[in-house]
Amino acid sequence: MTATPEIQDQIKRYLLGELDDGTRAQVEQKLLSDGEVFEELLVAEDEIIDDYASGRLDLEERADFEAHFLATPDRQQKLRFARALHRHAMTLANELETVKRPVIRSLWSSRPWLSWAATTVAVLALIVGTVWYLRSRTTSPKTFATLTLTINQSTRAEGVPAATVKLPLGADALKIFLKLPGSAPPTFRYRVVLEADDGETRPLEVVDQNGESIAVLVPATQLKREQYALTLFRTGGDSGEQRLPGRYLFTVE
């Protein structure tokens, strides 16, 4: 395939509906007359869906993706397929990790000298590991499952269906995009509190925001099978911190 990075970028923007009419027409003409460009489009469609499903699109791209790219049922089906494929691949990766461990144990028992060497290595590894751990505690998770939520003005008791997330998550963290009720100036700051069904609450880090939504992260290890509600607080303007009415609900199954 001869698709250059420029064409790849144009195709991505075409798929997100970000091109002006003239450039869009040029891309469409290439799609009709050039088989390689057309194949590039097909590949790019899958990649952009994967990026969306794994939370790798920024907020603006996500908004374009949902408003433009997901406009047809075919593409919505492709998104469900991508999520299933991603989950399958991650489950397999975890299984492979589990299978490797017994092999290491049998190697250990058949070669006693390994234990001396390993002890030395282990001491060194402990030192290096401690340093690494202390430094990496603040680093972000690498893989994400995503969820987009709209604020719900009613209470959970009224039986409003909440979005669901299934465990195992197949990713390091759940990235939740909270659609803001109405647009807000980008200078506003937000604070989010996660409340579990048992009443336990904890603050969540806001990792991204624009005028229409904000994104927060919940590490996969902190999710249990229960219902959750997110409360949003906003600071900005003259009124100090203000709790937004309603909550964002989701269920972990």
């Binding site: 395939m1 075409y14 798929l15 509906g17 027409a25 469409e28 003409q29 799609l31 009709l32 007359s33 088989g35 057309f38 194949e39 489009l41 097909l42 590949v43 899958d46 994967d50 794994s54 790798r56 949902e66 433009h68 997901l70 406009a71 047809t72 049922p73 075919d74 593409r75 919505q76 089906q77 492709k78 998104l79 469900r80 397929f81 999520r83 299933a84 494929l85 991603h86 989950r87 399958h88 691949a89 991650m90 397999l92 990766a93 690498k142 893989t143 994400f144 499952a145 995503t146 969820l147 987009t148 709209t150 979005a163 669901t164 997330v165 299934k166 990713a171």
Partner: protein, 196 residues
């Protein structure tokens, strides 16, 4: 254009002749153009993309006598010009009700999608992976295993092991994925049929 005009066998044959003198190659070219027109209409957010692509082809076929005689250049460009007109008329004709219905349906479907519900697809995928050769199954699952930098490194390693360029691996993974996607769609349809 006469809206009642229907594609006749004669017009279709002449359309194929225009696309290529060889009938097999002409058939392939026809399918390519139709498939690409559908993508163009989907890219413009048209729900009835297939119908609009067929309408475009019908219009070209309806004037194939003049086109074959007078038009010079890649037939795909001619189809594109007609497709522009078809889309323009579609936008004009689309009434408010249809737009509202579409928005409502789409909004419901979108919420379903955003809720991360892929369990039926997951079950079908499990079965479909079993239909792949071991080599292809390993390729596609490894290709989609990692994320971010780890993924880039993993794919470089995978391409090296296979002795191909990363872009060639990308295309290979895409084609296997397409096979899986079709299998999953069939599986979902069968499940729905069994439930009826």
């Amino acid at each position: 254009m006469n809206k009642e005009w229907a594609l006749t066998q004669d017009a279709f044959d002449r359309l194929l002749d225009w696309l290529d003198a060889d009938r097999i190659r002409a058939g392939i070219r026809y399918e390519e153009i139709r498939r690409r027109l559908i993508k163009v209409f989907i890219g413009r957010g048209c729900m009835a993309a297939e119908d609009l692509a067929d309408e475009t082809i019908n219009r070209v076929a309806a004037r194939i006598g003049n086109v074959a005689r007078d038009y010079e250049g890649d037939p795909a460009s001619y189809f594109y010009g007609v497709c522009q007109n078809v889309h323009f008329e579609y936008l004009r004709k689309k009434d408010v009700l249809e737009t509202r219905e579409f928005a409502a349906i789409n909004s419901v479907t979108l919420r379903t999608n955003l809720a991360d519900d892929c369990e039926p697809e997951y079950q079908c995928l499990d079965a479909c992976l079993g239909h792949l050769s071991n080599k292809n199954r390993d390729l596609v699952l490894r290709y989609y295993q990692e994320d971010k930098q780890a993924k880039i490194d993993q794919r470089k390693l995978q391409a090296k092991e296979l002795g191909i360029a990363v872009n060639a691996l990308r295309i290979r993974a895409y084609r296997i994925r397409l096979q899986l996607e079709r299998c999953v769609l069939d599986c979902l349809k069968n499940d729905v049929a069994r439930m009826k």
